[in-house]
């Protein structure tokens, strides 16, 4: 109050500054609010569409639903692979829930021991965000409903119904069809057909072998999608059914296989190891392709335990190996048909005889015939019938390896066939050129090697399918037909194997070799007893083979016991009916010791089923006996009470006069 003037001036100055600056501050505030407003206008009016799209993609999620996998059926439509419902238990990683505690809770409902819980915990924690992990498959209805009732308390747990692959015939088709299994890291390629988000679906299974692998994309179909509203944690809030995208089911695949023949083949192999391939020799359709011993493909779908896998992988008879396609074996004497044809093509007169004294000397070595005392003088037909080694030794030396190789190649040796599944091994067809290329240390063909070549031994190897193709090509006359395994995909028929050019061999020569094969199953032939079909006049022709696995001196045992892995392979190739060949068959019994003892009896059983299933042949088998010409007999006419016929009229009688039927076989 001492200096009021200054005081007031002072006050006024302070007030004036304040008022000016308060207005300024108001201006700044207004500017700031206007800035916010214009930013809002930009976001909400100009960019609305962009953000609406983003909001929608937040809000809605398409959850993939795997398509039902295509079924695989046999040639008659019998199911070989299908799908069945499966109650699954899935757990997803969720920040709000303790996965470990969840698993412990679940252990009250389903069997989950501590070790499995530990493994699942690791799996769940390493799974991608929002990708559920399967905790249990194939729950019972009780387990499924018990968990579903409590699912509200455990949003990170889902119990749902999926589909699981089922193979109703267990092991019979395991090698051809293969199996499906969980996707593993190698299946997920960054690009290519497998760069598909469905791969991460816990219910998805990918084809791992055979048809399931080769036709995986067709069988897979196109996954559908479930449109769901999700919250920020990915939990499903609402299901918008109108927005669902339907799955396109996988295509149905029809194979040429026949369920009955295939099952019978597995059955007759029992515990033996080997393969059997049966083909229609007019169309090339493979009716049976069976590898024994087999395994239950359903176990692979579920996932093998380590012990199960080791048991399969370490078993000496190799159940996991496909012996029809992936195993190659020396064809042994079944190859003599090829040597014989090569000889005929080289101009050797089949009537010329070679004297078999039980062996022959060549190049300072003694080459034994399988018959100790020798067969005596043999022409070509005799040699095939008796499987005389000496005859083919001498013929092979005369014609050399390249002629044999040429014939073998024409008949399918040394190649793979386009039957739609992977895993075929080519085998080896040796020739002078082959040794030059593949044996750099010893590039020259030794004449002694021709001898073993002539009887299907030595470096020569083939798989069971090749032997079946060889037989089919020999049997059908002249066609170089190709095997077919997949009949149709999604109703679309695949080309038959019959549309092929003829073999470049003379019909006469082929007929001659065929006649030799007919002699094999005649009385006196190597497979006479084991090849009788018991189907009336329908006969089977064939060729036995006993392939040496190991030099006898080193412990191999021809036709005898001994360590299993050193025993000879037994082979048999056959076709039937003899007079109008329809089915060709190759059977390999690994270490089965003899073609006529191990392979031929099994071949007979398989062939019988095929013949009996063929309606035309069945009609022929069941055909009533032809009525004898009625000749009125005055003496009988006078005794009207006597029966007219001596025998019931439904006894089967083979048709007479089949050209190749040897005497003593038909009705006497």
């Amino acid at each position: 109050m001492a200096e009021p003037a200054i005081f007031f001036e002072e006050v006024n100055e302070r007030q004036g500054v304040f008022h000016r600056r308060a207005i300024l501050m108001g201006g700044f505030a207004g500017l700031g609010i206007a800035a916010l407003g214009s930013r809002l206008a930009y976001l909400q009016l100009l960019e609305t569409q962009r953000y609406e799209k983003l909001a929608t993609s937040n809000q809605f999620n398409f959850k993939l639903v795997p398509a039902p996998r295509g079924v695989i059926v046999d040639r008659n439509g019998a199911i070989l692979a299908a799908n069945r419902p499966n109650f699954r238990l899935l757990v997803v990683k969720d920040k709000e829930f303790d996965t470990e505690a969840t698993l412990q809770t679940l252990a009250n409902f389903v069997p989950l021991d501590d070790r499995r819980q530990q493994r699942l915990l690791r799996e769940i924690n390493s799974a991608p965000r929002r990708a559920p992990v399967s905790v249990m498959e194939d729950m019972s209805w009780e387990q499924f409903s018990a968990i579903n009732v409590r699912s509200a308390e455990m949003p990170n747990v889902t119990a749902d119904m999926g589909e699981v692959r089922v193979y109703p015939h267990g092991g019979a088709f395991a090698h051809v069809i293969g199996y499906v299994a969980k996707v593993n890291q190698e299946d997920i390629e960054p690009t290519g057909p497998n760069a598909d988000p469905i791969m991460f679906h816990p219910g998805f299974r990918i084809g791992k072998q055979g048809i399931e692998k080769a036709l995986d994309l067709q069988l897979r179909g196109r996954p559908g999608a479930k449109k769901v509203e999700v919250d920020a944690r990915g939990r499903e809030v609402r299901h918008d059914e109108a927005g669902d995208i339907a799955a396109v089911p996988g295509k149905e695949v029809q194979l040429t296989l026949d369920v009955d023949i295939q099952n019978r083949a597995l059955e007759v192999f029992g515990g033996e190891s080997g393969g059997a391939v049966l083909m229609d020799c007019r169309t090339g359709d493979i009716l049976c392709m069976m590898s024994a011993p087999s395994f239950d493909a359903n176990r692979f779908v579920r996932g093998l335990t380590g012990a199960e896998y080791r048991a399969l992988a370490n078993y000496e008879r190799k159940p996991l190996l496909d012996k029809c396609l992936s195993g190659t074996y020396p064809p042994g004497s079944t190859f003599k048909t090829m040597t014989a044809l090569a000889a005929l093509e080289a101009g050797i007169n089949p009537a010329l005889t070679v004297n078999c004294g039980g062996g022959m000397n060549f190049g300072g070595r003694y080459f034994r015939c399988h018959k100790k005392g020798g067969h005596g003088p043999q022409n070509m037909q005799d040699a095939i019938k008796n499987s005389c080694d000496v005859y083919f030794y001498s013929v092979a030396v005369r014609i050399g390896p390249d002629r044999i190789a040429k014939v073998a190649r024409e008949f399918g040796f040394g190649q793979t066939f386009d039957i739609g599944i992977p895993g075929q091994k080519k085998g080896i067809v040796p020739s002078t050129e082959w040794v030059r290329k593949n044996r750099p240390k010893d590039p020259k063909w030794h004449a002694g090697e021709s001898l073993s070549y002539g009887i299907g031994q030595g470096m020569l190897t083939a798989n069971c399918l090749q032997l079946a193709v060889m037989t089919a090509r020999l049997a059908n006359g002249k066609k170089a037909l190709n095997p077919r395994l997949i009949k149709s995909i999604g109703g679309k028929e695949l080309p038959s194997g019959a549309a092929v050019p003829d073999l470049p061999f003379s019909q006469e020569h082929l007929n001659y070799v065929r006649a030799g094969m007919a002699a094999v199953t005649e009385a006196g032939g190597t497979a006479f007893r084991a090849s009788q079909l018991g189907l009336g006049d329908i006969l089977m022709a064939g060729k036995t083979g006993t392939a040496q696995v190991y030099t006898y001196k080193a412990g191999g045992h021809r036709g005898k016991g001994g360590p299993w892995r050193l025993r000879d392979h037994g082979l048999f190739v056959a076709f039937a009916p003899l007079d109008a060949p329809r089915y060709a068959l190759a059977v390999i019994v690994q270490h089965g010791m003899g073609g006529s003892t191990a392979a031929a009896p099994r071949a007979r059983e398989i062939m019988r089923v095929a013949l009996l299933k063929d309606p035309e042949l069945r009609a022929r088998i069941e055909k009533p006996m032809p009525m004898p010409e009625f000749q009125p007999d005055p003496e009988l006419d006078s005794v009207p009470d006597e029966p007219l016929f001596a025998e019931p009229d439904n006894l089967p009688t083979p048709a007479s006069g089949a050209p190749l039927t040897p005497p003593g076989r038909g009705p006497a």
């Binding site: 302070r14 501050m25 108001g26 609010i33 809002l40 909400q44 929608t56 920020a232």
Partner: protein, 327 residues
């Protein structure tokens, strides 16, 4: 709602208190605030990695909120007794500078950078309104601009730096650190002109929007009520600011003026910082939207602030002298 009713009642109650009472308690409130900040430093609760909370029995609060009011009162009280010359350019300016620096440093150390900045800027606003020389203002702004980049790079905590860097490029990590800003902008943008309707915002209802009831409540509103709703809200805020400033303008006492303007500045800063953050114009800082965000302490602070403003309005003709007062 109960909280809000209580706060409104408190505001009206505070409005009836004589401005001279406010004047008298100004320094004590500031000192208590400082002591509480020191206490929080020593015995405070650590939540989410920051020591900000002080518990008394079952009641816990953030002392930094007290300081928001304390700084306004204390600075207004100081400048009430200071001459224009002192306020413009003199060594006396070190007193208000110290009054601002002390709480700012304490709060920043918790660390609560958002609140520290708010206190700093509120204090700066009062200093400027009280008549700081333009030279110092210019120098201050220049110093601030110069200090920010090194501060961001070397002094800030990692999570703070991350927030700033994310703000500069929110789409670099949409599911990680950029998530908040991106989701907020999606909520805003997808609201469009008229919004999706009350309770129908997919971003907020399905929890894509983080902190949908607290720091990001404006985005929730924007999504459901659209541009029209947002602009209406901004207009209301602007009206509140205008009326508060008018109160300051009409106030006869320098204390009343500065205190009211200080509260207004705090309020405006809340609004602008939160708005800018929600719209992707500022880094994510824990500054709520005044009056909208759910949260007790902030609402209390704002209501007390408005109580002060209304008290200044009611008692705008009161003479406030150093000696006068009811206490």
């Amino acid at each position: 709602m109960i909280r809000f009713t209580l706060c409104v009642a408190l505001m009206i109650g505070l409005a009836l208190i004589d401005i001279r009472v406010w004047f008298a308690v100004a320094y004590p409130v500031y000192v208590i605030g400082l002591l509480l900040l020191v206490a929080v430093e020593l015995v405070g609760d650590t939540r989410l990695g920051a020591q900000r909370w002080l518990s008394i029995g079952s009641f816990s609060f953030q002392p930094s909120e007290v300081m928001k009011l304390g700084i306004v009162l204390a600075l207004a009280r100081y400048y009430h007794g200071a001459s224009a010359k002192r306020a413009r350019l003199s060594w006396w300016l070190l007193v208000p500078a110290g009054m601002i620096a002390l709480p700012v440093l304490l709060v920043a150390h918790q660390p609560d950078l958002g609140t520290a900045m708010l206190i700093l800027m509120t204090g700066a606003a009062i200093v400027v309104l009280a008549g700081l020389s333009w030279k110092i203002i210019a120098a201050g702004i220049a110093a601030f601009v110069a200090i920010v980049p090194p501060f961001v790079m070397f002094v800030m905590h990692d999570y703070q730096r991350q927030r700033v860097l994310t703000f500069l490029d929110p789409e670099s990590d949409p599911s990680g650190s950029g998530y908040h800003i991106l989701q907020s902008m999606i909520a805003l943008g997808s609201g469009g002109l008229l919004g999706k309707g009350y309770g129908l915002g997919s971003q907020s209802q399905l929890n894509f929007l983080p902190e949908k009831q607290t720091d990001f409540i404006f985005a929730t509103l924007a999504e459901e009520f659209g541009f029209v709703g947002c602009v209406s809200l901004l207009v209301l805020y602007a009206a509140a600011i205008f009326m508060a400033l008018r109160t300051a303008y009409l106030s006869h006492s320098h204390f009343g003026r500065l205190a009211t303007a200080g509260v207004t500045a705090t309020f405006t800063l809340y609004l602008l910082i939160n708005g800018a953050m929600v719209m992707g114009l500022a880094p994510v800082v824990g500054v709520p939207m005044p009056l909208l965000s759910y949260g007790g302490t902030v609402m209390l602070t704002v209501m007390i602030g408005f109580g002060l403003v209304q008290s200044a309005r009611v008692h705008r003709y009161a003479e406030v002298t150093k000696g006068s007062g009811l206490l």
